[in-house]
Amino acid sequence: MEKPATLGRAGPPPDTGRRADDATLIARSRAEPEAFAAIFDRHATDIHRYAARRLGPGPAEDVVGETFLVAFRRRDRYDLSYRNAGPWLFGIATNMISRHRQAELRLYRALARVGVDADAESPADEVVARVAATGQRRAIAAALARLKTADRDTLLLVDWAELSYDQAALALDVPVGTIRSRLNRARRKIREALDDISSEEHSHD
C-alpha cells in the first residue's frame, strides 16, 4: 500500500496552486488550526521511526502524539524564516524522548546483554544475527547506554534521524560547533567499543 501523499500531492492544489512549505502551513494554521494536520502528515513518519529506534514502538507512539500536540500549541512561536519544520519537530521529540530515559537505557542494556533485538520484526534478522553482527550490536548498545544524554541526542539526531549538523543545532538549540564536538566524542566512543570487540575476537582466534 502506498504511503498517504502529503499536502498537495495526491490532490490538486489547496489554496495556493502549489505545495506550500512548512512555514506557510504553520502560518496558515495560526488562523486555521486544521492546516497543522498537514505538518503531521509530512513529518510524523520520520519522527515515529526515530522515536521507535530509541524507545521501541509503544513509547514511540506516545512521543509522536505528544510531539505534535506540543508543536501545535507552540505554533505561534515558530520562527517562520525556517521553511522546513523538521528540525523544530525533532527538537521537541528529543525532549519527549528524554522523559523516557530510563526505558531507553533499559532497552540498550538489554540489547547489550542479549544481542537480539526484541523489537526487530523480520525473520530476516536471523540471517543478520551472525555472531559477529550480534557482538557489534551488543557493543554499540552498551556504548549508547554509557553516552552522556546530550551526546547521545546529538549522535542519534545525526546518524539515525539523518539531520545535518545545522539542523541538529537548530533542534537542540546549541551552536553547530557544539554539535560537532559532541558528535566527535560520541562517535569515537562507539568506534572504540567496536574496536574492543574486534580485538577480543582476534585474540580468540
Binding site: E2, K3, P4, A5, T6, L7, G8, R9, A10, G11, P12, P13, P14, T16, G17, R18, R19, T24, A27, R28, A31, E32, P33, E34, A35, F36, A37, F40, D41, T45, H48, R49, A52, R53, G56, P57, A60, E61, V64, G65, F68, L69, F72, R73, D117, A120, E121, R137, I140, L155, D159, W160, R180, S181, N184, R187, R188, I190, R191, L194
Partner: protein, 392 residues
Amino acid sequence: MTDLAEPGPVRELAGLRADVAGRAPEALHRARGRLLAEIHNERDAVAPSYRALPSRSTSRLRRAFPHRAEPRPSAPRWLRPALLRPVLLAAAVAGAVAAVTVSLLPGPAAHRPPPRAVGSAPASSPASRSSVLTAAYVLNRAASAAAASSQPVPRPGQFIYVTSVTTYLSTEIGPSGEKSWLYRTSRQIWQSVDGERAGLLQIVDRGNVKLPWGPVPPADTGNPVSWNSLHSLSCPGAAPARGTYAFLASLPTNPGRLRAWIYQHPDGQNQADAQAWTDIGDMLREMLVPPKLAAALYRVAATIPGATVVPRAENAVGRASVAVSRSGAALIFDPKTYQLIGEGAVLTKAVPGQGPAGTVVASTAQLKESVVSHLPDVPPSEVEKDAGGPSC
C-alpha cells in the same frame, strides 16, 4: 580540543534498530487522531472568529458582516477542505483501480441524465469506441495533439494566467462522525514565469454539491471572493524552482529522457509509478505547458502501468470527455481534440462518510491558459498574504 581527525559516521550504528518502527500505520493514525482532537478543541474553545467561517479571510469578513462573526449555535466543526482534500484523495489513490465514469455534476445528480457518449459526436468518435481504447492510445493521441499545438512563449518577468473551475471534497468532523460533500470554486491564478515574483490567486466560492450517498450540505455563507498572494519560488539568477514555467521549459522533451528524469526526481514518497503519475498531473495542472514538453509528458504517462480509459466522462463544467485514470486519479481530455480539459478523482474503495467505490470526489475544468505581463490591480488590503518563499 583534540588533534584527532573528525570520526565519520559509524556504519554499524546506522544499521542498528533501523527496522523497529513496526505497527506504524495504526500508531500514526492514533497519534494523528490526538492532534485532530486538539485542533477541534481549540476551535471550540478559542475565538469565535475561528469557528464556522467558511472563508479564509475571517477578519475582512467580520468587518463586512459583523453579525457573521457570532458562532452559530450548533456550529459545525470545520475541517478546512484545503487540508482534508489531499488526504482524502490520497485514499482514492491507495486502493485498487476502479473503472468508473468520472462525471461530476454541477447540479443535483438526480436531475441530470447520465453522461452519454459525447452527445453530438459522430458514432465513430474514439470516445464511443471504448472497447478498442487503451489508456496508452488516448495518451499518445493527446501527445500528438499537444505537439501540433501552438501557444505563446512567455518571457521571464511575465505571468502564466489560468482560469479553472474546481470541485473538491469538503469534510466536517462532528460528534456523529465525518460528513462529506463537494464544494465548487472558480479559480484565477497568475504564476510568475520565472518564479521570482509573487503571484496571485483569486478563489470564488460557487457553493456546495451533495455527494450521491452523502448528506445535504450546508449553504455556503460568507464572502465568496478571496484573493491570495502566492510567494515567489525562485531566487534571482538561480535555477528556476520546480512548479514554475521556466522549470518546465528546462526539462528534456525526449520522452525517454523525460521518463528517466521523472522517475529519478519523485516529488513525493509514493511507489514509483504512482508518484510518476502524480507528478505528471502536478506539472500539467493550472499551467501553460510548452507543447513539446506536454507531448513528452503524455508519452511518459502512456508508459506507466495501471491506467485505464474512462470512455464517457465529464469535466467539472459538464463537457463530455474521455478520461484516463490510474488508481482513481484521472486526466480528462476533449474526445475530439484530445486537449487536456480537467482532472478528476474517484474513490477506488468505499470510504465511510463519502460513499462507495466509484464516487467522484474531485473534478476540475481547466478553461483557459494565457500569458500576461501584469498582475491585476487588487487593493493590498483585499489580498491574503502568503508567508514563505526562498531566502535569497
